[in-house]
């Protein structure tokens, strides 16, 4: 049943022009950025780096910045993808279909979430291909690339879980999106406050969403970063299930 719902949600995302536009638009921007970083690497950095022992390579100077940009851009559009998940069901009073079907709430929530993750994986694959295309001209640090993409995926996946929860709070998709942007802003504020000179806070940086991704994109796979994202996702998934259950109880 999870597979059925996930497959359905995944296919349905592609029925709207939104998904296609987002993938195309963001990939276009990322490709431009990639080009800029590559140009910079070839004309500016490469001659200088060649003189240094153990210097950073193309992975650090082209792919890592591109991934960070991909992270920022995709974080900004995730609310647009998650806003419809449950709020649109409520707007069109569609929950009754899933609620009266022989499926549990957990299956419904996981189904929708996995559908979103499948979409993310699809949407990020052009960026992965762009990065991998560098291997035609140079030796890539595949480990660092894998860590970076894992970080990107984990960060976006966990933020999607939050978006999913926030979409259960309102019947207006736009309201759900606004709530998600609010959370995103809060997480960024944590990061900026944590990094502020003179009042650095380890706690705030840990709480912020972005810091963990930066570690991973630099090729540092700390279990604490991975666990942060897993906790973040599962926390919001559980909240979503709870929320739907209380709705079933209280109507």
């Amino acid at each position: 049943m999870i597979r059925l719902i996930a497959g359905f949600e995944y296919r349905r995302l592609f029925l709207s022009p939104l998904a296609w536009t987002l993938i195309a638009g963001l990939q276009f921007i990322l490709a431009l950025l990639f080009l800029v970083f590559l140009e910079n690497f070839i004309t500016e950095l490469q001659p200088r780096l060649a003189l240094i022992d153990d210097a950073p390579g193309a992975t650090d100077t082209v792919i890592t910045p591109m991934l960070i940009w991909a992270g920022i851009l995709w974080l900004a559009v995730i609310p647009l993808l998650t806003m419809r998940s449950f709020s649109e069901d409520r707007l069109y009073q569609r929950q009754a279909l899933l609620m009266s079907a022989p499926v549990s709430l957990t299956e419904v929530v996981l189904g929708k979430y996995i559908g979103l993750l499948l979409f993310l994986a699809t949407a990020l694959s052009p960026a992965l291909l762009t990065a991998a295309s560098l291997s035609l001209g140079t030796a890539l640090d595949w480990g660092k690339l894998a860590a970076g993409f894992m970080g990107l995926f984990l960060m976006l996946a966990s933020f999607s879980a939050a978006g999913l929860y926030l979409s259960t709070l309102s019947r207006q998709p736009a309201m759900a999106a606004v709530l998600s942007y609010g959370l995103l802003a809060l997480l960024f504020v944590f990061y900026i406050t944590g990094k502020t000179q003179g009042s650095e806070s380890v706690l705030f940086i840990y709480l912020s969403h972005f810091g963990h991704f930066l570690n991973l994109s630099n090729g540092l796979v700390h279990s604490s970063d991975v666990i942060y994202y897993l906790l973040f996702s599962s926390g919001f998934i559980i909240l979503t299930i709870q929320r739907l259950d209380s709705e079933r109880r209280n109507g």
Binding site: L4, L15, Q93, R94, L98, S100, P102, V103, R249, N250
Partner: protein, 310 residues
């Protein structure tokens, strides 16, 4: 638990909200072949009741058994036997009719192999042939409503719950839907809610009237209370009521106004003849004698207004 030959058994269902009670002590036992009409003014608690029976809203008190399976304790098994159309058809507007129905069928656990056949059958019974490849968003309200009914019956559930199934339909479509409901009842049990009285008279063989969350009237239709007929008569020289009720075959008499009576007779020719004969012999001055069919509308008005006026 539960009686296994009844498809649906609800006992003591109540739904309390913080400051009011939407449904109180709802009882129902439904067997195969029965079509129950749930009748009531707007806001009487019809939809809340149906939501509780379909497992989409948890009751505050009481239990629901579908084919003897507890809906609250084993929702997955119980819901397999259930098809539900809420008051708004739960449609995905960006899908085609076929895509949507296929998803609904799979969601209800229909096997892939049985799918094409089920799809064909339901498209035929709900008369959706012409629109099956169209997007749901492009359909008229009537067609959308029929797609909603189709999703409730595609997996051939034993119990079909329809919340205002003929809403938004034109008279011809209403007729088709009524026929569809009658066909359904051959194999299944159907509950439908409505505030249209004629609808209940046209399709249902049982009726429950709900007002302010309570059942105020319950009856079987079609065969009007078997073996009994009602007559209204007027007398110029009214006798003691006991003299009338002493006539053989008279079950009960009530005085409606001075000289005007409503009586319930045994349904055979003899009792009516006896009444007329006695009235003439005793010189009561029989002015009129006419059969009374207590229509659903009368009962409805009576029950609902009785409740409303303190």
């Amino acid at each position: 638990m539960g009686n296994t030959d009844s498809l649906l058994q609800a006992e003591g269902l109540s739904k309390d909200y913080e400051n009011h009670t939407a449904v109180e002590d709802y009882q129902l036992t439904l067997k195969k072949g029965e079509i129950l009409g749930l009748l009531g003014p707007n806001g009487a608690g019809k939809s809340t009741t149906l939501r509780m029976l379909s497992g989409t809203l948890a009751p505050s008190k009481g239990s629901v058994h579908i084919k003897g399976i507890d809906l609250l304790e084993q929702p997955r098994r119980a819901k397999q036997e259930l098809g539900y159309l809420p008051d708004q058809p739960p449609l995905y507007h960006d899908l085609t009719v076929e895509e949507y129905l296929r998803y609904c069928a799979e969601l209800r656990g229909l096997k892939k192999a049985a799918l094409p056949q089920a799809l064909e059958r339901v498209i035929q019974t709900c008369a959706l042939e012409d629109v099956q490849r169209r997007l749901i968003s492009q359909l008229s309200l009537g067609f959308q409503q029929r797609v909603g009914i189709a999703q409730a019956v595609i997996h051939e559930p034993d119990l079909v719950i329809l919340d205002e199934p003929t809403k938004g339909l034109d008279p011809i479509q209403i007729n088709t839907i009524r026929e569809l409901i009658r066909d359904l009842a051959m194999q299944h049990a159907v509950i439908l809610s409505t505030h249209i009285l004629s609808e209940v008279e046209a399709v249902c063989n049982r009726v429950q009237i709900i007002n302010q969350g309570r059942i105020v009237h319950e009856a079987r239709l079609g065969i009007q209370e078997s073996g009994k007929v009602y007559y209204q008569f007027q007398l110029a020289n009214p006798p003691e009521v006991s003299a009338i009720s002493a006539i053989p075959g008279v079950e009960s008499v009530s005085v409606e106004a001075q000289g005007s009576y409503l009586t319930c007779l045994n349904d055979d020719q003899g009792s009516l003849q006896a009444l007329a004969k006695t009235a003439v012999q005793q010189e009561w001055g029989l002015l009129s004698l006419c059969p009374q069919h207590e229509s659903l509308e009368q009962i409805f008005m009576q029950k609902v207004f009785q409740e409303d006026s303190p």
